[in-house]
Structure formats: structure tokens, C-alpha cells
Symmetry: C2
Subunit: 155 residues, 2 copies
DNA sequence: AAATAATATGATATAACATAACAATAATGA
DNA sequence: TCATTATTGTTATGTTATATCATATTATTT
């Protein structure tokens, strides 16, 4: 599983370049989020972290999350109160999250055209947009196939 | 202010047609949300309701909200943990919320083409979408003008 | 109308999510 | 080194939401 490592390396380089500190706690929290299959909740992160670091308390996690969010290294999923590592933090503009109801997998999509259209559409309503939250909930391919197979067997 | 009244009448007719009960608590909660300028938080609703109805407790509000959400009469704003009356509950498909950072106003937008494109885009990623959460945060026309005017005066 | 079933509300407790405030420590810069 | 700033520790509390079981209301059946 080399990808999470490279994600951490990338984060480290980015923090260095920006002159912000990628402390052990921040690194560890990002690692936890990155190696998780789906999104993680703040208190699940806290439980995990507390095993290695007895002093961990809610502010410990929320501070680390705030930092990682500011740096664009993680995203918050508003509809789940959960957090997801960003695999392309250099990507500056809006993104869309695809959330699977079946397996909990969350994928980050970058349809820039869509983001542009949203902003244009909002502009026609007199709104100038500074932040987009786009969360699409449904089923991923695997879970759709699986549901279809089960329906098949039930016949 | 005739609009909130007609919204309530519309809700009443819709519930009657669907064979679900538009009880006094549900009606009152919808009225409160509808007459508010922006979005309302659950505990603000609770405080208001408790003044008229001493027995009101968190479950009272959350049950009413769950009902109204199910019936499509209100929307939940995930990024604010707040609730907004829907002025066109007959409208079945997706919607987009425009949230003003300045005055807190929230507007419901219906760019159906956009919703369709999102679904198509997600489909290309293997996801079949069942629910869309689209929240765009920025400034409404009034608040943009106001900010511009203030910058002008500051010169 | 009475009995039954289904739905809604009352009431208490607690779970889940998040921040305030201040003290202590560690890193950075003059 | 000393002062400054940033980070973390620590305690407490604020905010948002649900579980559970009792009671009451409404609808349905007889």
C-alpha cells in the first residue's frame, strides 16, 4: 500500500513549502484518515489516537483536523460529519464527493466544468460563490452490481 | 405577508392528499421555519416552540423536522445544521442552496440541467446517485453591494 | 359505541459532535 | 539567551441529535 505513504510525503513537502508545521500529531491524524477505506469520524480518530497517545482529547483531534482542513489536506463531509484525505491537495478549485451508501466508500470527483456552471448559475441569482459543498449520495459500481446479483438470486 | 400562509395551506393540502397528518406541532414548526428570514436551528425552534408549548423537548422538534423533511416541506442545510422551508414542495428533483455569508439569507435554486449533469458525471465514475446535497456559500447581491460601498467609503 | 390498532406526543436520559479558556511546553527569531 | 509565537495539555462546557419507554390521541374495525 504505497499510496498513503506518498500522500504523507506530499503533505510534508507542501507544509515545508508553505512554512507551516507538520507536527507528529498532525501527521498521525492524516495517516489515519488516509489509510482508512472510507471517511472517518472525529471521535473514531480520537479513540485511535488515544491508544498511542494517552493525552489525546477532543481538542487534540479538532485542532489537527482544522489544520489539515486549512491546508487542504483533508475534506470534511458535511452530510456525514466525517473527514476524508485529499489525494490531490495541489488541486485548488471545487470538488464533488461521491458517497456510497452500500460500502461507505467516498470518492473525490473533479468536474471543473460543473463547478464553473454552478458558479455561473448562482451568479444569475445574484450570488457570488466562495465555497462549494457538493455531496452526491448513491451506490458505487460494486454495490450496485451486488444489489443486482442479490435481486437475481432472490427470484 | 401572505406567502407563508399560502405555504402552510399548500402543505396542508399536500398532507391531506398523501394521507399523512399535519398536526398542530408540525404545522407550527413549519410556520416558524417559513416566517424566518434565514434558516433556523433545531434548538432555536425548540426555544420558540417551548414558549407556546411547555412540553416541547428536543424529540418534539426533531420528530416534527423528520416529518417535514420526509414530506419535502423543509430542507436541511448540512453545512449549517439548519432548516429551511421549501417553497415548492411539489418540485421533485434536486435543488441547490445559495447561502449568504453576510446576511444569512438562503435561497433555493433549481438548475435542473446542472443536477442532470452531476448525475451523469457521477455515473461516469460508476456511481448511481440517489440524493444530492449542493450548498453554495458566498454573498448575495445586497451584501456584495454593501461590501463594495464600504470599501469605497474607506478610501 | 367499544375494542383494537396505529400514530403521535410526553418525558427522561444520554449519545455524538464540537469549542472555550487558560496553563504548560516547544519551536523560532532577535 | 530572552522574548515571541505556535502548539499541545487539560478541564469544562456548549451544541446537535437520538434511544427508550410511557401516555395520549386518532383511525379502523367490529
Amino acid at each position: 500500500m504505497p499510496e498513503p505513504l506518498s500522500l504523507i510525503d506530499q503533505a510534508e513537502r507542501q507544509c515545508l513549502a508553505r512554512g507551516v508545521r507538520f507536527t507528529p500529531i498532525r501527521r498521525r491524524v492524516l495517516e489515519m484518515i488516509a489509510t482508512s477505506h472510507g471517511a472517518l469520524k472525529a471521535y473514531d480518530l480520537l479513540d485511535q489516537l488515544a491508544k498511542e497517545h494517552g493525552a489525546a482529547r477532543p481538542p487534540t483531534i479538532y485542532r489537527a483536523l482544522d489544520f489539515l482542513l486549512e491546508q487542504g489536506l483533508v475534506h470534511r463531509i458535511e452530510s456525514l460529519n466525517a473527514y476524508l484525505a485529499c489525494h490531490c491537495p495541489e488541486h485548488q478549485h471545487g470538488f464533488q464527493l461521491l458517497i456510497c451508501r452500500g460500502c461507505g466508500r467516498v470518492e473525490e470527483m473533479h468536474d471543473d466544468d460543473l463547478g464553473t456552471r454552478l458558479v455561473a448559475s448562482a451568479d444569475r441569482h445574484g450570488f457570488s460563490i466562495e465555497r462549494q459543498t457538493i455531496e452526491l449520495e448513491g451506490r458505487c459500481q460494486d454495490c450496485t452490481s451486488q444489489a443486482a446479483a442479490m435481486a437475481e438470486n432472490a427470484q
